[in-house]
């Protein structure tokens, strides 16, 4: 029988991509990114026992990851550690893998990251959710705005990005 720890780790592993994407979108600095990944993991762990199975797991993870990332992004003191790791454990491999996955080599991905990083905090959350193929209804639920508002904002951000692509991409 699976323990709570096992279940949590399974969920974490299945959705680690979301945590990395959110962290990468809100932290440019590698050290900050490490801290943010730790903090999101901590918040997920703290909220895990309150998770209501009637809601989609991915929705729960997006909400916690984005809320943690936006708060973290806005903090002035980014280095405060709220977790300790067992002696045998080491956060570095997680970060190393995430860092290696940074798509600097790929120009399109680099440009995309650059454009997303230029968006204000809430628009950035909206764009991550949109790029991750979430429906408008899911985005509306995660962000707490109406579907109509989601559609309007996505259309506006897409237009902004299109203009930026035209002006900034090499011909």
């Amino acid at each position: 029988m699976k323990t709570t720890d096992d279940s949590f780790l399974d969920i974490l592993e299945a959705h680690m991509g979301v945590i990395y994407k959110v962290s990468n979108a809100y932290c440019k600095d590698v050290e900050d990114r490490k801290d943010l990944i730790q903090e999101i993991t901590l918040q997920l762990w703290r909220s895990f026992h309150q998770y209501d199975a009637q809601y989609k797991l991915s929705t729960w993870i997006y909400k916690i990851s984005l809320n943690t990332a936006i708060s973290f992004y806005r903090k002035e003191h980014r280095r405060s550690s709220t977790m300790v790791w067992n002696d045998k454990a080491d956060i570095r491999p997680v970060i190393a893998v995430a860092a290696e996955s940074q798509p600097e080599q790929d120009e399109n991905i680099r440009l995309l990251h650059q454009f997303v990083a230029q968006l204000p905090a809430l628009d950035r959350a909206l764009m991550i959710l949109y790029l991750d193929d979430n429906s408008y209804a899911e985005i509306a639920e995660i962000l707490g705005i109406t579907k109509t508002n989601v559609a309007t904002k996505i259309s506006r951000i897409k237009q902004q990005l299109k203009t930026k692509f035209i002006t900034q991409t090499p011909k």
Binding site: E13, E76, P103, A125, G144, L161
Partner: protein, 219 residues
């Protein structure tokens, strides 16, 4: 790059990330969560201390008033200040309730608003202090009695009192105007921004600005 390419770029990026994740499981099993206080818990303690200070001031003013019941001027002065301290105490308690209700699994707009409202709490104290401006005489009356044992109400001459009353009356519209102006949707006004920064620091101004951004995002 077109939108289609943008979506493809994100998918490529996503695939690269997912590919690397299986390596981390063994390590994550070793994770232990510390019980040290989070930033929000520290804020909770700070608000608790603030509520304690307000309640002590409230008690002190009550004792002051009760000990001077035969002197209506002291009771009135203490009563006026009591209103503001009780409001301050209620504000701190409200904050404590808000902090305890923060759940990161809530919708982004709602949670971010709550977090920023907590960070911007001092704005409410600044607004409250503006409202108390016309009643500054109450401090003078109580201060003279407490520190010098002088009943300024009886000692002050007629002209002095007339001057105080006129000045206080003049402060009422000013205080109301300041109270209405100093709020998140007016943070774009230079003087509001400067006043907020000088009284509450740049972190308060940033929090207020973000509250304004949240309001705009919801529209």
């Amino acid at each position: 790059m077109e939108m289609e390419e943008l979506l493809n770029a994100w998918k490529t990026y996503d695939a690269k990330l997912d590919h690397s994740l299986s390596l981390n499981r063994a390590m994550l099993r070793e994770m232990k969560v510390d019980k040290t206080r989070s930033r929000m818990q520290r804020t909770l303690v700070a608000r608790g201390v603030e509520a304690g200070i307000f309640s002590l001031l409230t008690i002190a003013l009550c004792v002051f008033a009760v000990n001077r019941l035969p002197y209506p001027e002291f009771v009135l002065a203490a009563g006026v200040l009591l209103v503001f301290y009780i409001l301050g105490f209620a504000g701190s308690i409200k904050q404590i309730v808000m902090i305890s209700q923060i759940d990161y699994a809530g919708s982004v707009v709602d949670i971010q608003r709550k977090i920023e409202q907590i960070t911007a709490h001092h704005l409410q104290l600044i607004r409250l202090s503006m409202l108390s401006l016309p009643f500054y005489t109450a401090y003078i009356v109580i201060g003279f009695e407490l520190f010098f044992g002088v009943n300024i109400f009886k000692q002050g001459n007629h002209d002095w009192w007339v001057g105080q009353l006129i000045f206080s009356a003049f402060m009422i519209p000013l205080a109301l105007w300041l109270y209405r102006k100093i709020r998140p949707d007016n943070i774009h006004l230079k003087w509001v921004k400067n006043l907020t920064t000088s009284l509450g620091g740049s972190s308060l101004t940033k929090a207020v600005q973000f509250l304004h951004d949240i309001e705009k995002f919801e529209k």
